[in-house]
């Protein structure tokens, strides 16, 4: 099995699906000859030509609006939004149009568009190259939201997304784009949408994370284990539909829960997860559910490591929640 990073795994998935399905087209800013600013589409222009790997004018609303029209017509567009911070000019097309097209047309017009976009901070990108806007899209009825943490999941989930019938926001954690490596199976395989993965088993506290923060949470779990704690770490992989059964099973076992995400705390996905778990596990809970998140500030440049929920903050929350006695 070849060792790949997330960019190579995404690239591999796109190549496999473009070979398999002539309806798949890629469009976006700098995705063609240049191969994308993160190189995720490198080599695809040369292999599939300018009719299937298309450099567009610079307008995110145009990219997504065009992709919707293409999907209605019968193609399988996979547009790239260069940074998720730039997705907002397309917000209306995503929220009011793409997400609602099947429903509002009475099921006559599915719009299977997969929007790939890098998310998250930790690359010295400042406010406009670091945000994690997942909760805005999870809140939008009609969208599937995916965020893998490693190349194996990235490839399998992207193939599932493109083959699915729903619009998908496929968020790629850019901080670990190259750092997260793994032995990726060759050829075609899929990982199902909507299934979380238990990365580390334990019975004392459930830690929930995804994307780049999964790696911070993993580090915190290792430090906690060294201190004698037994944490269970869950990688959500698909944010919506969230794998509620996996969360409930775990928290019923541990009775304690720490949720980690980069996005600001208020109205972040952690709030929703906390509520879902509390509604289902109330009598099993031994301590309040803790959120370890980005602060309720714009994403800062110089102090990004103080903003991000790094391992020491996660570890402290795990220690406090396991020590908690009512």
């Amino acid at each position: 099995m070849p060792t790949m990073n997330i960019i190579q795994a995404v690239n591999d998935a796109l190549r496999i699906e473009m070979k398999r399905d002539p309806r798949v087209v890629i469009l976006g800013e700098d995705v063609g000859k240049f191969g994308g600013v993160f190189r995720a589409t490198a080599g695809l222009f040369e292999e599939f030509g300018d009719k299937r790997v298309i450099d567009t004018p610079l307008a995110e609303g145009g990219i997504i609006g065009a992709a919707i029209g293409m999907a209605l017509y019968g193609l399988r567009p996979v547009p790239e939004i260069q940074f998720s911070d730039f997705i907002f000019p397309a917000f209306d097309q995503i929220v009011n149009e793409l997400a609602k097209y099947r429903y509002r047309s009475g099921g006559q017009y599915p719009a299977p568009v997969v929007i790939r976009t890098p998310v998250g901070g930790g690359i010295k990108g400042g406010h406009y190259h670091s945000q994690s806007p997942e909760s805005l899209f999870i809140h939008t009825a009609g969208l599937v939201v995916v965020c893998p943490s490693n190349p194996i999941d990235a490839k399998g989930l992207l193939l599932s997304a493109i083959r699915g019938e729903d619009p998908v926001l496929f968020m790629e954690p850019k901080r670990v784009y190259r750092a997260a490596k793994g032995d990726v199976p060759e050829g075609d395989y899929t990982i199902p949408i909507g299934k979380a993965k238990i990365v580390r088993e334990g019975d004392q506290v459930t830690v929930i994370a995804w994307g780049a923060m999964l790696h911070e949470a993993m580090e915190a779990c290792e430090q906690a284990a060294a201190q004698g704690l037994r944490p269970e770490l869950i990688d959500l992989r698909t944010l919506w539909p969230v794998d509620i059964d996996a969360l409930v099973t775990s928290v019923k076992k541990t009775g304690r829960c720490v949720i980690v995400h980069e996005a600001p705390r208020t109205c972040g996905f952690g709030g929703e997860l906390s509520s879902l778990i509390q509604e289902r596990c109330f009598v099993h809970l031994e301590a309040p559910i803790r959120r370890v998140t980005g602060w309720d500030t714009p994403f800062p440049y110089t102090l990004e490591n103080e903003y991000l929920p790094r391992a020491p903050r996660i570890l402290k929350a795990m220690q406090e929640t396991t020590a908690y006695e009512a």
Partner: protein, 377 residues
């Protein structure tokens, strides 16, 4: 050496756009009987009957809204030629991306009057299953895309569908409508720019009906016309008498042929007038004087076609009377049937959010169903 040919071409284009009074007309002010058209007598009487049907449906629906029998209506009174004349240039395989006044096109392309009325009352047989307010339909058998209220999004999607057809090598054109108010939106710019760059086979229609709810066209643009905007994007901008069905049909057909020949998009400004309010939700007397409306009533597109057909001996008062009487009965009976149909099930509210409902929708459906039908407010 400067490229004198290119310069003179540019000068010619500037010259053309500098004549905002240059309005393409075929019927002319007198609706002359020798007005040229490639529409056959049969096609002419059919499209005329369609215009009348569109008008009578609009008038009836407005009355029903006043009676509280439907929740809302937005029609196309006075704009039938701009809408139906353009869509008449399309073939069955072509696509249509409506704004929200083009419901007559769905009827013309095969949507049954019954299904249209099903949408008016939002019953269980509504093609969009009671999920959208009246006039927000979709009709896949005719490649009639879904109506949304936000301004301009359909232009961008039409560009995408046309582009997809071109990528697949299909002989298909997409047509979309926008109001002159919509030309102020970001979507207008994005769609026009992408379409021209990609040479997408799309026909951009603009109903310049001069009012966007209460906002006059002088608040939408400082350009002399809307058509001149097309030049900056690198596509032809045509300005046509929108109350002249023959003229609108002619320029739309030419635009479709350009698109099919690989020459890319065309923008057509159909100059017309919104003689009623924006919708049943506003009273235009609050924001515009009646005197402004009166001259446009005299330029009614249906009346102009009737005079023309009459002069050509293709239509007479007896046919007119019969058409209107038959339509009146058909509209009343069809609406009564739609009104009597069952509403959508609670279950249907949770379907088609996704291809298959997720666990949360299953849970919430069960909860909603446990309460049954809610009391009316």
């Amino acid at each position: 050496m400067p490229d004198t040919h290119a310069q003179s071409k540019a000068a010619a284009r500037r010259q053309k756009s500098a004549e905002p009074d240059d309005l393409i007309s075929v019927l002319g002010p007198d609706n002359r009987k020798d007005a040229p058209t490639d529409l056959s007598p049969d096609e002419l009487t059919k499209i005329y009957a369609m215009m009348v049907e569109n008008r009578l449906v609009d008038e009836r629906m407005i009355t029903l809204q006043r009676q509280g029998r439907i929740g809302f209506y937005i029609g196309s009174v006075g704009e039938e030629a701009a809408i139906l004349g353009a869509a008449l240039a399309l073939r069955p395989q072509d696509w249509f991306f409506p704004c929200y006044r083009e419901n007559g096109v769905a009827l013309m392309r095969g949507l049954s009057l019954r299904n249209y009325f099903d949408n008016m009352v939002g019953n269980g047989e509504d093609p969009v299953k009671g999920r959208q307010m009246p006039n927000h339909i979709a009709w896949r058998p005719a490649n009639y895309a879904s109506v949304s209220s936000p301004i301009g999004t359909q232009y961008t999607q039409a560009m995408g569908a046309a582009w997809a057809a071109k990528l697949k090598g299909d002989d298909v054109v997409a047509m979309s409508f926008i109001g002159e108010g919509g030309t102020s939106s970001n979507e207008f710019h994005v769609a026009m720019n992408f379409a021209a760059v990609m040479k997408a086979p799309v026909v951009f229609m603009c109903r310049n009906n001069q009012w966007a709810i209460s906002t006059p066209l002088s608040r939408q643009t400082a350009s002399e016309t809307f058509a001149v905007k097309a030049m900056a994007y690198g596509m032809p901008g045509i300005r046509v008498d929108g109350n002249d069905l023959l003229a609108v049909h002619r320029v739309a057909k030419e635009a479709c042929l350009r698109a099919r020949n690989g020459e890319g998009p065309t923008f057509i400004e159909a100059v017309t007038y919104r003689v009623l309010g924006h919708s049943t939700s506003d009273d235009p007397k609050v924001y515009r004087p009646d005197e402004e409306v009166e001259p446009w009533r005299k330029k009614d597109p249906i009346e102009r076609m009737r005079i023309y057909l009459d002069a050509r001996g293709l239509w007479d008062a007896k046919q007119e009377k019969k058409l209107r009487e038959d339509l009146d009965v058909r509209i009343r009976e069809t609406f009564a049937a739609a009104e009597a149909a069952q509403g959508p099930t609670i279950e249907s509210m949770f379907e088609e959010v996704y291809a298959r409902p997720f666990w949360n929708l299953d849970e919430q459906r069960a909860e909603a169903e446990s309460f049954g039908t809610a009391p009316k407010h």
